[in-house]
Amino acid sequence: MTDLATLETDLTAQIAAAADEAALEAVRVAALGKKGSLSALLATLGQMAPEERKTAGAAINQVKDRVTEALGQRREVLKSAALDARLAAETVDVTLPVRESPTETGRIHPISQVMDELTAIFADMGFAIAEGPDIETDDYNFTKLNFPEGHPAREMHDTFFFNPKPNGERMLLRTHTSPVQVRTMLSNKPPIRVICPGRTYRCDSDQTHTPMFHQVEGLVIDKGSHIGHLKWILEEFCKAFFEVDSVKMRFRPSFFPFTEPSMEVDIQCNRQGGEVRFGEGEDWLEILGCGMVHPNVIRNCGLDPDIYQGFAWGMGIDRIAMLKYGINDLRQFFEADVRWLSHYGFRPLDLPSLAGGLSS
């Protein structure tokens, strides 16, 4: 039996020495293949006496089993090593930069973003969004809004005019979003709750004025809304928009031809350190004008001012965007400088909502 023991020792050594799966297969074939050494030994059994065959057979089969198992184990080791080697060879440089997602590089302009914020807040309070044309008639922009012809208040509007038509009518670029009030009242029955955001134009240009800017107008018309409600709406709006828990506002009596009583509204803030913080501080910052819709305007829109009443307010979208997001120069809004837009703009999926927060 020493032959068998020698063979086993020999095979075991060969298995352990096999450097790869091919070498191992060669060992297997040499041992267990049709002409393999162990197969040859098994073939000798047939010539043995039954007794001898029994013991020799058992011994050879035990060796065969052990060799088979050793082959299996070695195969697993080699396979695993081969995989490791392959994977090691497949190593890539993970520090190579990838393209930024377009949803990270795209930008929404601050004006669009703020309009969406306004919509989120006021839609929740039951306001619809009304719109009107940029090119308006003198009647809708001024006369129906109780600006008498030749009144100094008209002059203060720095209106852009078009050339008069043969019939004498002269169109203009709306100087405020208030003509949308008129259009809304003329085409809708009270109760009315709308905000009217849009582009407005005045023939004026300096550090803080551009010939084109954006306003949002609010209008409530029903049978009972008064200045107390107006105050509440504006306070709630300011808290929601500026995302602060409390805000102190100052309502100052003022004058607009289309409201009576009229007020301007200041908001208390802290302007130290080049940053405006609301809900604290000692400074007052004017943010909007408002008032009860003038009886003449209500009448001009076909409603009876002794039955219907309501209020309106208007503010600059660009201005509140600047205040909220700390933007200094209004002119940059319309420069389309990608550096500015990338910095002050918003990502496409920054969707303002009351549930998730206006800004995140």
Binding site: R99, E100, P102, T103, T105, G106, I108, H109, S112, A123, M125, G126, F127, A128, I129, P133, D134, I135, H151, P152, E155, M156, F161, F162, N163, P164, R170, L173, C203, S205, P211, M212, V220, S225, H226, I227, G228, H229, K231, W232, I233, E235, F251, R252, P253, S254, F255, E260, P261, E264, M292, P295, F333, F334, A336, D337, V338, L341, P348, L351
Partner: protein, 805 residues
């Protein structure tokens, strides 16, 4: 409107502090715009007595002074002024004082070995004059220890209010005092002006020569002669006040008119009677007439201005500015005082047309108190006699002061209805009466007559404003608006939703939203089919912002160039905004427009190790299609037709349409000639879609989606490569293949297009991947081959293509 605190106190008996006055002004609608309180700036400077001034031991030009400040021990001060001397009174400032003229805060110092605990000051150091020759030398009776600014009457605070155009009554300090008194800040002093009896008839003739129907241009005109006056500088107190509010003193007669203008909101004019020839006539100007104004400029008339003329010609622009010729100077001995009423609109128009802004115009165009026309003459007469002497004539009045009185029936409940303010009947009456309204009647409805100085009051709403602003807007409680108790419904309109979707979609493709001007240069507008006369501004702010834009492409293309000029050439910009095809509301459209330049591709801009390529027409087409899909356009029905508007490259552009009558956009490379005209370097890829032109989505009764039917059989994919003429459109191949069996063929994709080596130079190879989705059973090879044969036949028939071997 500017005034000083002491001037206000001429009309208001009050103990209120400056802070209370300014806070109240803002609270009642007279917003304080600026406050200059020189007294606060000079508060630490006090009157002191120099007990002794001795030579400094170590410096020839310095003196060591012992100063009695009026409190405590004498203070040692080292002083360099040549006029410092024992026994004098001067102005002292202790350490810690900010010296305005030097811009420093004083400290305790040691000067050449001697300690100095304060400073004796020159006028220049206080910034009250240029005089820095020595320290202020005060008379002996100057009160020791008193604040110098108070004693020298330098501390009168100047308040400037931002007056709204509806309040002519507060162009008068008396009117401001009335508002403050009504708000509880003191007592309004009487404004009754005693009449001055005329000593002789007024020899100066006045006529109103206005055409019938134009009488309202000058309802009344009062004139009085004062003879034997001595003109010269006005007294210090008057000059001080005028200077404080920014007026330049001229001479007593002129200063009196300015003083009354501010004191009572009553503009006046004075003529030198000896320079007036013949009657003074109020009339319309004649075209071509001119006058040399008191400001030294010559004004020409058009025939539309109201003027005061005599035999010499025009002497004064009515209600706006007097003329130099008949103006008063130091030699004037006989003065004519004019107090008249003018039409506000007329004054506004004249002032605007002539470009004149004066304190008189400011008041007349807002509306002066007609009932103060005559008291204005009396007040001015009294001042002239007090300051210049002289003897007054009787007052001549041409025309008549109109009665502006009327009555408003005012239900006191109106205040609560419109403002939500709880104000008692008694309080409302008290406020209205304090503001000069006459109130009569008891109970819920009262009769209110506005005073003659309040032309802004027309009806009930105006009265509620008066009550609210004086009672205080702060008293109106915030009241929650009823929100209806339901979950709010969606409010956006279709176009609003499309606008938002288009913006977010394009930004999601890596593009950056721009907002550009609604107006562009005419030449630019014309390049894009705009520039019509109806869309040209009559008064553009700049020649390159003259016409309403027919497209957003100009704004984006020029913006791309500006960015490129700054070193950012790979930009992808978009704008969703209004474009104009006419001046009617229906001519305004909402356009979604995008533009790509350089290497700004949808996958990312700039060079990259994974591959670098310039943006191309298919990138911009994909942007446009993304917008169309996002806003709910019927994608299956949209045709992409070769070619686009003239501003696109003729061979590299396409049009989106649903039939030739329903075109809603185009895309492609912008035409090089157009870019050159815009002074923009290309190539630029762009698209524009008019969102309003897209059909609205079908209204469906429920939100249920169509039932999903999934086939249990595997789809089969077959590839075909066709050789076609280069001009053949891939879209036609796809359409032909698709049309073979719309049920079975679920998709046809173009997966390769090849031109070049190996095929005919006039041909291209287009490879299609066709997916067949069996529904009821697995397809047999024979069935698949039959469909494939039909596809080849159909493509060949429609496009002349042959299956590539």
């Amino acid at each position: 409107m500017k005034f000083t605190l002491s001037w206000l106190k001429d009309h208001l008996d009050t103990e209120a502090s400056l802070a209370e006055v300014t806070e109240t002004l803002t609270r009642i609608g007279l917003e304080v715009e600026a406050l200059d309180d020189p007294g606060a700036k000079l508060a630490s400077f006090t009157i002191a007595h120099v007990i002794s001034a001795e030579q400094h031991p170590n410096a020839d030009r310095l003196r060591v002074c012992m100063v009695d400040t009026g409190s405590g021990e004498p203070v040692q001060v080292v002083c360099g002024a040549p006029n410092a001397r024992t026994g004098m009174k001067s102005v002292f400032s202790p350490p810690g004082t900010f010296i305005p003229g030097k811009g420093i805060t004083l400290g305790v110092g040691t000067i050449r070995g001697v300690e100095s605990r304060g400073m004796l000051c020159s006028a220049a150091e206080l910034e009250i004059s240029e005089d820095h020759d020595g320290i202020i030398d005060l008379p002996e009776d100057a009160p020791l220890g008193a604040r110098y600014a108070d004693w020298a009457q330098l501390s009168d605070p100047v308040i400037e209010i931002n007056l709204t155009p509806n309040r002519p009554d507060c162009t008068s300090i008396h009117g401001i005092a009335r508002d403050l008194a009504a708000a509880g800040l003191g007592k309004l002093k009487s404004d009754v002006v005693p009449q001055v009896k005329g000593a002789f008839p007024n020899p100066q003739k006045v006529t109103l020569a206005l055409a019938k129907g134009e009488e309202k241009l000058c309802p009344a005109f009062a004139l009085r002669l004062v003879r034997g006056v001595r003109n010269g500088p006005s007294p210090d107190w008057m000059q001080r006040r005028l200077k404080a509010i920014g007026l330049r003193p001229i001479n007593a007669l002129v200063d009196i008119t300015n003083y009354v203008t501010f004191d009572r909101g009553r503009p006046l004019h004075v003529f030198d009677a000896k320079k007036v020839a013949g009657a003074l006539v109020v009339r319309r100007s004649q075209a071509g007439e001119t006058v040399l104004g008191l400001d030294g400029r010559v004004y020409g008339f058009t025939g539309h201005e109201t003027v005061i003329a005599d035999d010499n010609g025009v002497e004064s622009i009515a209600g706006v500015m007097g003329g130099e010729h008949s103006g008063c100077d130091d030699a004037t001995t006989d003065v004519l005082i004019e107090s008249a009423l003018w039409d506000p609109m007329d004054i506004a128009r004249t002032g605007r047309n002539l470009g004149i802004v004066t304190d008189a115009r400011y008041r007349f165009e807002r509306g002066v108190d007609p009932n103060f026309m005559l008291p204005g003459v009396e007040l001015a007469t009294r001042l002239v006699m007090d300051l210049c002497g002289g003897e007054p004539s009787e007052v001549t009045v041409a025309g008549a002061v109109p009665d502006t009185g009327f009555i408003i029936n005012f239900p006191l409940s109106e205040t609560r209805r419109l403002t939500g303010l709880e104000s008692s009947d008694r309080e409302q009456r008290r406020i209205l009466e304090a503001l000069g309204f006459s109130v009569s009647g008891n109970g819920p409805m009262i009769k209110v007559s506005p005073p003659s100085w309040r032309p802004d009051i027309h009806g009930k709403a105006d009265l509620t404003e008066e009550v609210m602003r004086i009672a205080g807007v702060d008293r109106v409680p915030s009241t929650p608006l009823d929100r209806g108790g339901t979950v709010p419904k969606p409010v956006l309109t279709l176009i609003q939703k499309r606008t938002r979707m288009a913006k977010r979609t394009l930004a999601g493709r890596g593009m950056v939203e721009a907002v550009t001007w609604s107006f562009i240069a005419k030449a630019q507008a014309e390049l894009f089919g705009g520039g019509q006369p109806a869309l040209a501004l009559a008064n553009p702010i700049a020649s390159d912002l003259s016409d309403m834009r027919p497209t957003l492409l100009v704004g984006l293309a020029t913006a791309a160039q500006r960015n490129a000029d700054r070193g950012y050439g790979d930009v992808a910009l978009f704008e969703v905004g209004q474009v104009f095809r006419g001046d009617k509301p229906d001519d305004q459209f909402m356009a979604a427009t995008g533009l790509r330049r350089g290497l700004a591709r949808p996958t990312g801009a700039g060079r990259h190790w994974q591959g670098t390529a310039a943006a191309d027409i298919y990138d911009i087409k994909a942007d446009a299609m993304a917008v169309l899909a996002a806003v709910g356009a019927p994608m299956a029905g949209i045709q992409v037709v070769q070619g686009g508007p003239a501003w696109f490259h003729p061979g590299r552009s396409g049009t989106f349409q649903m039939g030739p009558q329903t075109v809603f956009g185009a895309f492609g490379e912008l035409h090089p000639r157009v870019l050159e005209a815009l002074d923009v370097k290309g190539p630029l890829l762009a698209f524009e879609i008019l969102l309003d032109k897209l059909p609205p989505p079908k209204v469906r009764p429920t939100r249920t989606k169509p039932q999903l039917v999934l086939s249990p059989f595997q789809p089969v994919e077959r590839d075909f490569a066709f050789l076609v003429d280069r001009a053949v459109k891939a879209g036609d191949l796809v359409k032909a293949a698709q049309g073979v069996d719309k049920q079975l063929i679920t998709s046809v994709e173009v997966f390769d297009v090849y031109e070049g080596k190996g095929i005919d130079a006039a041909k291209k190879s287009v490879a299609l991947a066709v997916t067949l989705q069996p529904r009821d059973k697995t397809l047999t090879d024979a069935e698949i081959d039959a469909v494939a044969a039909k596809i080849v036949a159909e493509v060949t028939k429609k496009t002349g293509g042959t299956l590539r071997a």
